[in-house]
Amino acid sequence: MTELLNATAITKRYGGITALSRADFSARAGEVHALLGENGAGKSTFIQILAGAVRPDGGTVTLAGSPYRPRNPQEAQQSGISPVFQELSLVPDLTVEENIWFRREPLSAIRTVRARAMREATLELFARHKFPPIRPDQELRRLTLAERQVIEIAKALSRDPQVLILDEATSALGPQETEWLLGLAKGLAEAGRLVIYISHRLGEVRQIADRITVFRNGATVAAYDTHAVDDETIITDMLGRRMDRLYPERKSTASQTVALGLRGFGVDHRLADIDLDLREGEVLGVAGMQGHGQRELFQALFGIGGSRGTVEVWGKPKTIRGPRQALTGRDGLALVPEDRRNHGLLLSKSVRENLTLSVIQRFTRFGITDPKRESALVDEMIATLKIKTGTPEQLAGTLSGGNQQKVIFGKMLLTEARILLLYDPTRGIDVGTKGEIFQLMRDLAAKGYAILFYSSDLAELVHVADRVAVLRNGRLAAILEGEDNSERQILRAALIETRAA
């Protein structure tokens, strides 16, 4: 069997974090090869290495028998490997055709772009691959997200690649474009190309992939022919077994009072028909594969971007129009955001200033702050959360990741809001602090706080949350509790298109 692409023992570390260890991958021309794994399993790092965007620390890659070591994305493309990333590489102010041929425009004798030739090439490309109708002369910023994704694919195909990498390419597409793309991938494979297909949708993978490779914790754990394996095996291989030590004992402290009630909640086409009750004293987990509506849910609840449907907070209907409204007082909502370095903290300000930024009114009289009251609040919070800081005046940017996250928690707790929205609060945090944060979450729940908790790590949801709401394609796929609250059931609900909400 001749393999077109062969990767052996690829390793990649970012600082102390190992993204890839012993990753092997081997695929032949003429097949659609699916690459599966949980969030953080190392798939993205691996394809970035193939695409020339990241260089591996160790291991070898061969392409058609010869060593393959691209130094940048351009070299990778010249070798015939074209990636379609989720994070788009398109320019909003250029037209569709200018984007597709950017840096490779056909030139005339006076070095200007031959517009006619470019248009013809675009139409020919669209026709050859049966693209959905999109005007080539339209500026990209006028296109929908789905259309942009289609153009990203067009850009990759315009190089006529030997290897096409599709990374979650269908996550932004509607059902029709998805069908089109699946057909396109199959067609390319039949024409002798290799398509590497990364998706969290097992259904799609079954439909088109000839073979499957599974990554877990940065290593290859399995590779098989699609028709010779069942879904259960794939899911087991994706999960593996894991140690569970850092989780606190979970005692349900939920009351019958509904803290946050959602009915028909939605955000444009990305989130729809969400009915959910978060109760006082409860930790309600939110699960879902990347890009299935979790981010939209949290942002909309915090008042970023529009939403529809009704929201009841402590029994009262509420319209949340912006973070200021979401924050107000004991009846409010507080958010631990996804990107703490950019959105949660002012790194060049002190711990004290960060803690009290959103609650200045709590120690302000007649427009003048009362430093004594402020420092009392700050000291209390530093003690409660065990924030390791020299003095309250230390700059937030100089703290460790875990302590930065504690400052954000402190900031949130000082708002006195009793509904907490935690978006992946343990990402990039050391194990010890993780444990402290979980304990804190359970303690807060016991005090009557209501906590909505998203994590990209399923084990955290299973061990910390009382119930877990699973999102798939922006809809509520299942609410799991008790026995059903397991990684297996969460993955099943997040991946497989059964079990209506």
Binding site: Q74, D93, V113, F126, Q176
Partner: protein, 347 residues
């Protein structure tokens, strides 16, 4: 429709259901509306210029004559040349304050070094343009290598260049060859030299904006990350952008000396903010990526006509910046409203 709809040409059958990727057929009126809204940032300054010209014509005879065109273009040309460079930088998503220093330096070098020998004058003219390009390239290198804000880097180089100009010629003065200043008032086929320069600038622009570099500058201003991912060199694009800006500042300085017949170590600062204003009135986005030189030209003429109006109305000349500021606000506001409704009509 056959040009804009790839599938009708290629005869591909994909059902048009109005799903995420396919736009429903739009009415003729809606197409016109969106076409107008797309071009609003150019249409608005056009309307403003016409309105100003009509007001001007109601106050004075002979506004719509060749003489007036020649005069106004000569009055606008220094600003226009400076604003051409500024336009390129703004499209890149940057800003160039150093053009003020470069213009001052250019005029004092010309007024002190040209002498009377035509050969020497020509050599120095080229030398000044080369200095402009080099100073600009240096701006580009500093911005890329030190990762500093263009505003700060070019503020610093502006200061340095201004100081250098002061050392060469502390007060306004110097002299230029008579042949040189004759060029400023010469004309050919009834059109003044400035109108011919305007035509040359247009030719340059319609060529430049369709070169790979022109597209890359616009793309980098629109989304730096995407452009770099697609193979644009960060340092190359900055050297080219700021280098061109420096060259145009030097050309502005040379043109200015044909009009004034002297050098001035302080005159350049009068062109820094107006060059940005002309571009912004003409629909160039300060965030980069959007606009073109035609808009900037209209913006420069708007600012010039405002000066004429203040003159014929015989009011204090201090009214000129006040009216310019108001026009700037109106232009920016109108463009932003148009952009918002363009977005709304899409969704």
């Amino acid at each position: 429709m056959s040009i804009v709809d790839p599938t009708s040409r290629a005869g591909i059958a994909i059902a048009n259901s109005g799903a995420a990727g396919t736009a429903p057929r739009r009415s003729r009126a809606a197409i016109w509306k969106s076409a107008l809204l797309d071009r609003a940032s150019l249409i608005i300054p056009c309307v403003m210029l016409i309105a100003l010209l009509l007001v001007y014509a109601s106050l004075r005879d002979g506004v719509f004559t060749l003489d007036e065109l020649n005069l106004d273009t000569a009055a606008a040309m220094t600003l226009l040349l400076a604003a051409t460079g500024q336009t390129i930088v703004l499209l890149r998503g940057g800003i160039d304050l150093s053009i003020g220093g470069m213009i001052s330096l250019g005029t004092v070098l010309a007024a002190t070094r040209f002498g009377t020998d035509p050969g020497q004058a020509a050599a120095w003219a080229f030398g000044i343009v080369a200095i402009g390009g080099l100073v600009g390239a240096l701006n580009g290198i500093l911005i890329t290598v030190l990762r500093l804000q263009p505003f700060l880097v070019t503020l610093a180089t502006w200061s340095i260049l201004s100081g250098a100009a002061m050392i060469i010629l502390p007060t306004d003065g110097g002299a230029l060859p008579s042949g040189w200043t004759m060029f400023g008032v010469s004309s050919w086929l009834g059109l003044s030299s400035s109108v011919w320069i305007l035509a040359l600038l247009l030719v340059f622009w319609f060529w430049f904006k369709r070169t790979r570099l022109g597209i890359a500058i616009r793309a980098t201003g629109s989304n730096e990350r995407s452009a770099f991912l697609s193979g644009v060199s960060p340092i190359g694009i900055n050297i080219a952008t700021y280098g061109l800006s420096g060259i145009f500042a030097a050309l502005a300085a040379l043109y200015l000396t044909t009009q004034t017949g002297a050098g001035s170590p302080t005159i350049g600062k009068d062109y820094i903010l107006p060059s940005v204003a002309a571009a912004v009135i003409g629909g160039i986005s300060l965030f980069g990526g959007r606009g073109g030189l035609v808009g900037t030209m209209i913006g420069a003429f708007i600012l010039t006509i405002i000066g004429n109006l203040v003159f014929v109305l015989e009011v204090s000349s201090y009214w000129q910046p006040i009216v310019s500021g108001i026009i700037l606000l109106i232009a920016v506001l109108a463009s932003s409203i148009a952009e918002k409704s363009a977005r709304r009509s899409l969704s």
